[in-house]
C-alpha cells in the first residue's frame, strides 16, 4: 500500500492556480522529495496534504484512508506530522513543553483527569515525560530542555521542530526545507538523520528541498513541481536528466535573452497567494 496517494489535487487562490492537477504517490517507508523553483507551489502542496488548505478538487489518501477535507488536528492524529519552512515553535513554552505539546494527540488525559490526577493520569504523565526526553535526546537537544524554545539557535530550533513532529508518533513525516540555513557539514548530518528516521523508526518521509545535492543524495523518489504542475517524477537519475526539469528548475543557459521592455504579454501567473494583512 502506498503511504501517501495524492490524486490530481487543484488549489486556487483567487484567480491564481497554485497547484494544478498534481498527483503523486509515495510508497511506504520511502524518502520522497518535492522540488521546484522558489514558489512553484511546493509549500501549498504540503499545506494541502497537512490540511491547512482544502484543495478544490482531487483526493488525498494516506494509508488507504481519504484524509481530504479533514481538519489539521485530525490529520495529525492519523499520523501525518510536519515541520515548517519558517520555523513555528510555540513561544513562551520550554523545549520540553513543545515536545509534550506535540504528543497531544497521543495522550488521553482529559480535564477531569488533569484535575483529579488519578493513578492512570499520573502514569500517563510519567510515560509522556520519559518519552519526551527520549525525543529530546534523539535529536540531540538533551540538556536544553528547560530553555525557552525561542532561545535556541537556528539549527536547534529546526531539530526541535522535528522532535515535536516525531513526538506525535507519525507514520508520515513532512519536512519543509529541513536544511535551510545549514552549512554543508550540517546538511550532511541532516541527511544522515533523515535516513536514520526512515531506517530506525520506519517512517515515510516526504520533504521539500532546494539543495539539489542533498535531494539527489537522500531521495528514493523525486517529484518536480513547476507552476503548480507535476512536470517530472522518478528516481534521482531520471529526474536529473529530464530536459523539462533542467529547463524549469535550473534555467536554460542558451536561451536568447529578450530586452526588458519587450516582456511578452502572456505573463505566466504567479502562484504565490497574496500575503494577508490581518
Amino acid at each position: 500500500m502506498n503511504a501517501l496517494d495524492v490524486q490530481s489535487i487543484t488549489k486556487v487562490f483567487g484567480g491564481l492556480v497554485a497547484v494544478s492537477e498534481a498527483s503523486m504517490a509515495i510508497p511506504d517507508r520511502a524518502i520522497a522529495s518535492l522540488i521546484g523553483p522558489n514558489g512553484a507551489g511546493k509549500t501549498t502542496f504540503f499545506n494541502c496534504v497537512s490540511g491547512f488548505y482544502k484543495p478544490e478538487r482531487g483526493k488525498i489518501i494516506a494509508y488507504g484512508r481519504n484524509i481530504q477535507g479533514l481538519r489539521t488536528d485530525q490529520i495529525m492524529a492519523l499520523g501525518i506530522a510536519r515541520t515548517y519552512q519558517n520555523i513555528h515553535l510555540f513561544s513562551g513554552m520550554t523545549v520540553l513543553e513543545n515536545i509534550l505539546a506535540g504528543m497531544h494527540s497521543r495522550r488521553a488525559m482529559g480535564p477531569l483527569g488533569a484535575l483529579a490526577r488519578h493513578r492512570s493520569n499520573r502514569d500517563e504523565a510519567r510515560n509522556v515525560l520519559a518519552n519526551a526526553y527520549h525525543w529530546l535526546e534523539y535529536v540531540g537537544l538533551a540538556g536544553q530542555g528547560d530553555q525557552f524554545a525561542t532561545n535556541l539557535s537556528y539549527g536547534s530550533q529546526r531539530r526541535l521542530e522535528i522532535a515535536r513532529a516525531l513526538a506525535s508518533e507519525p507514520r508520515i513525516l513532512l519536512l519543509d526545507e529541513p536544511t535551510a540555513g545549514m552549512n554543508p557539514q550540517e546538511k550532511q548530518t541532516m541527511i544522515d538523520f533523515i535516513r536514520r528516521l526512515r531506517d530506525e523508526l520506519g517512517l515515510t518521509i516526504f520533504l521539500i528541498e532546494h539543495d539539489m545535492g542533498l535531494v539527489m543524495n537522500v531521495s528514493d523518489q523525486i517529484t518536480v513541481l513547476d507552476y503548480g504542475r507535476v512536470i517530472a517524477e522518478g528516481t534521482p537519475t531520471e529526474v536529473k536528466n529530464n530536459p523539462r526539469v533542467i529547463e524549469a528548475y535550473l534555467g536554460s543557459q542558451a536561451e536568447q535573452e529578450p530586452h526588458a521592455a519587450e516582456i511578452p504579454d502572456d505573463l505566466p501567473q504567479d502562484e504565490q497567494p497574496q500575503k494577508e494583512t490581518v
Binding site: N183, E255, A260, L267
Partner: protein
C-alpha cells in the same frame, strides 16, 4: 574609498546570532552579489545595512559617514535603498502610490514626475496598471513594481533582495537584464542578494559567499563562478 563598507558586523534576532562578524565593501558603480543558502544570513545583512535589524556590534560606513546607529528612514534618506525579499509591495496601494512611496524622501516634484516617467518607460506594464492595487498584480509585475519603487528613490546604492524569487526563468532573465542596464547605463551601485547564484554571478563584478552568518569566500564573480566547490554547493552541481 568604497561607497559602502561593513566592518565586523554582528546581528542578533532575539537570541539567535544571525550575523557573526560580516565584513564586506561595495565600490562606487559596482554590482556585488551575496550568495549562500537559505538562512545563511544574506537577507539579514541587507536588513542590518538598512537599519531594520540594527547591528549589535561593528560598523557600517556609507562613504565617510557612519550609519550603524541611524534609523531606517535616515539611512534611506542617505540614498541606501532596499528592495526587500518577496517584493513586499503595498498591496492596498495603487501602483502609482507604491511608486510615490518610493520617492517619499524626495521633495522635488518635477524630478519625481520625471523619474515616474522613466520607471514607466522601463516597465510599460506598470503604466498600464497605474491605478490598480498592488495586490492584484502578478508576481512578475510585482517584482517590476518593487524595483521601480526602489528606483524612484534615486538610490546611491541599491540593495536587491532575491529579485528572481518565484519568477519564471524568462522573467528572471529580464529582471537581470534590467539590473545590468541600471548598473551600466545609470551607474547605479548594486548590492545583490540572490539564491540563483548562476545568474547573479553573471551580472556581478564581485561576490561574497555567506554560510551560517560568516563570509567564507570573497572573490571576483568569474572566479567564484568557476570554483568547483561553489558550483557544487550553490550552482546546482552541473
Amino acid at each position: 574609498m568604497s561607497l559602502l563598507e561593513l566592518r565586523n558586523v554582528h546581528t542578533f534576532y532575539g537570541k539567535i546570532h544571525a550575523l557573526k562578524g560580516i565584513s564586506l565593501r561595495v565600490e562606487e558603480g559596482e554590482v556585488v552579489t551575496l550568495i549562500g543558502s537559505n538562512g545563511a544570513g544574506k537577507s539579514t545583512t541587507l536588513k542590518t545595512i538598512s537599519g531594520i535589524t540594527p547591528a549589535a556590534e561593528g560598523n557600517i560606513i556609507l562613504g565617510k559617514q557612519e550609519i550603524t546607529q541611524l534609523k531606517p528612514d535616515q539611512i534611506v534618506g542617505l540614498g541606501v535603498i532596499q528592495s526587500p525579499e518577496g517584493r513586499r509591495i503595498f498591496g492596498r496601494l495603487t501602483v502609482r502610490e507604491n511608486l510615490e512611496m518610493g520617492a517619499f524622501t524626495r521633495d522635488d516634484k518635477a524630478g519625481i514626475a520625471q523619474d515616474l516617467e522613466y520607471v514607466f518607460g522601463l516597465f510599460p506594464r506598470l503604466k498600464e496598471r497605474e491605478n490598480q492595487h498592488g495586490g492584484t498584480l502578478s508576481g512578475g509585475e510585482q517584482q517590476m513594481l518593487a524595483m521601480g519603487r526602489a528606483l524612484m528613490a534615486k538610490p546611491r546604492i541599491l540593495l536587491l533582495d532575491e529579485p528572481s524569487m518565484g519568477l519564471a526563468p524568462l522573467l528572471v532573465k529580464s529582471i537581470f537584464e534590467i539590473i545590468k542596464y541600471l548598473n551600466e547605463e545609470r551607474h547605479t551601485t548594486i548590492l545583490l542578494v540572490e539564491q540563483n547564484a548562476n545568474v547573479a554571478l553573471q551580472v556581478a563584478q564581485r561576490g561574497y559567499v555567506l554560510q551560517s552568518g560568516h563570509i567564507i569566500i570573497a572573490d571576483d564573480a568569474e572566479v567564484l563562478a568557476a570554483d568547483p566547490s561553489i558550483r557544487e554547493a550553490y550552482l546546482g552541481g552541473h
